[in-house]
Symmetry: C2
Subunit: 302 residues, 2 copies
């Protein structure tokens, strides 16, 4: 038997473990063909999961809302994820769990009620949505023209792969010399960007959108950090004008933590560097992570 190299990534599909490079989805499955899928991503850093239960709870809520019920219990999902990380040996890892709906078998109506749902989990070496260098100097962003898909169409609290608007926004950003985009809703309020929540700092207060965005676990963590530091945090609508005039802007995501922004289209924020509150929150976030904050250590022994 050939020795398997798991360090490049490991995956689990509906009961079976395999190297990530072998993990594939049939092209007729509705998880692909109708994007009938939900997912979650939890980070492993310093050899430990961060807020594992929060991610598992959100994932379960998303699955239930989509009427998906894979065979694994929450505890079993946690075991699968831990086993995947253990196999890779990675101390810093990107850990994803998807639940997809299958295509109904032939001979029954082509209706999602006839599809079964199953898990696809994978672990790969840690991914930075923006590199540490980008975070140090501040991300270059812009407000792009596509409207974020409305909550009346798709519940944004169900984490999903409906990224067409975000992808179009990202190309627009690229054309304008920016690295990423932020989308507005139909009322002109800020929602989110490709894979991250958005924060504005205005007059010493930290503000994040109430509607039209994923309820991020790192977003929740930022709100808690603000509380700890005595920084007033508001969850409310942010208009485009208010956003573009903000003192500071930063993003939050699992695969990146707290990521300061230094440019918004042509506007240079602060001194073309991360603002003081953004930098303070980012430093505190990683300091506390190192100290085992909300951590579930991975057991690497076999």
């Amino acid at each position: 038997m050939t020795e398997v190299d798991w360090s490049a990534g490991a995956a689990y599909i509906d009961g079976e473990f395999m190297p990530l490079k072998d993990a594939k989805l049939g092209i007729t499955e509705w998880g692909y063909r109708r994007s009938d899928v939900t997912y979650d991503v939890v980070g492993v850093y310093y050899g430990a999961f961060f807020r594992l239960d929060d991610h598992i709870n959100r994932f379960r809520t998303s699955m239930t809302k989509l009427r998906m019920n894979p065979k694994e219990s929450d505890d079993e999902i946690k075991s699968v994820l831990a086993e995947l990380v253990r196999r890779t040996g990675l101390r810093e890892a990107y850990v994803a769990m998807d639940c997809v709906r299958s295509r109904p078998p032939r001979g029954v109506p082509l209706h999602p009620i006839n599809g079964r749902s199953y898990l696809i989990c994978h672990v790969m070496p840690w991914v930075w949505v923006f590199t540490p260098e980008q975070q140090e100097r501040g991300v270059h962003a812009m407000v792009a023209s596509p409207q974020r898909i409305a909550p009346e169409s798709l519940d944004p609290t169900i984490k999903n792969f409906h990224w067409g608007d975000l992808t179009r926004g990202n190309f627009e950003a690229h054309d304008e010399g920016a690295e990423t985009c932020v989308l507005l809703d139909r009322d002109g309020n800020v929602t989110e960007g490709p894979g991250f929540n958005v924060f504005a700092v205005i007059d010493g207060r930290v503000i994040t959108p109430k509607h039209g965005a994923l309820q991020g676990i790192t977003r929740k963590t930022v709100i808690e950090l603000c509380d700890e530091f005595g920084i007033r945090c508001e969850v409310r609508d942010i208009s485009r004008n208010e956003f573009e005039a903000a003192d500071e802007i930063f993003f939050s995501t699992t695969a990146g933590g707290i990521m300061p922004v230094s440019r918004l289209a042509k506007r240079i924020l602060g001194n073309d560097r991360p603002g003081p509150i953004s930098a303070q929150l980012r430093a505190a976030f990683w300091e506390k992570r190192k100290d085992g904050w909300h951590a579930t250590p991975v057991s690497y022994a076999s």
Copy 2:
């Protein structure tokens, strides 16, 4: 070497032919993970493609709008599709072409500009969106509550897998005893359903939405058929009230042709059977298909 059975389906991925059951997509590819993909479906019936060039042209337009440029020319795509059908030997086949974006390689920014695009095509035995029995007695539909994803978010003329709203609508329909759903836009006008365009017949005129729906090839064919039969056809907004009071309703799609509706939620249309104009158009559609209308015959000899 084992004899391969192609009759269950055949596929082509980025240069390679394979049986459909072996055709899979890596779970980290953005075609799945960000639904960064466009597609088209052309039907083969009576051993011939229907309006092949129209489908290829629409597919190319969709790919260009998404900045996708696979290595195959339009003629090469047509050759691939013909070869897939030939291998299966199927005289009635569902023929799909997808173009997906890959995940960028490690070490470059996680931006779609760094992904490459490639083709995934497949052929399987003909699929009826609604069975001939359902079409004979009329489909049972309802207007469901999710709003169709807005054109300001996603260009509906780019055929896409962003089906979350349609899937939710389909579950709602199932709960109410209907077989499928029709979605409205934010202004309350009719858009489309899961995989089909929508038509209302009012006072002898055939009406189909102007905005918020795919520009279907079968929809275009219906418009041409109406012209041929001297039936007035209007492409314009249809309000919910107007739609619910229509004399007849029918749907159109590649994998089904013209499909009459006999119930809309609690309302029974006509005599709980397809209306006369719907039935006339449906009969003419298949009659003309049989006679080689817009046909590109498949060469089955090897």
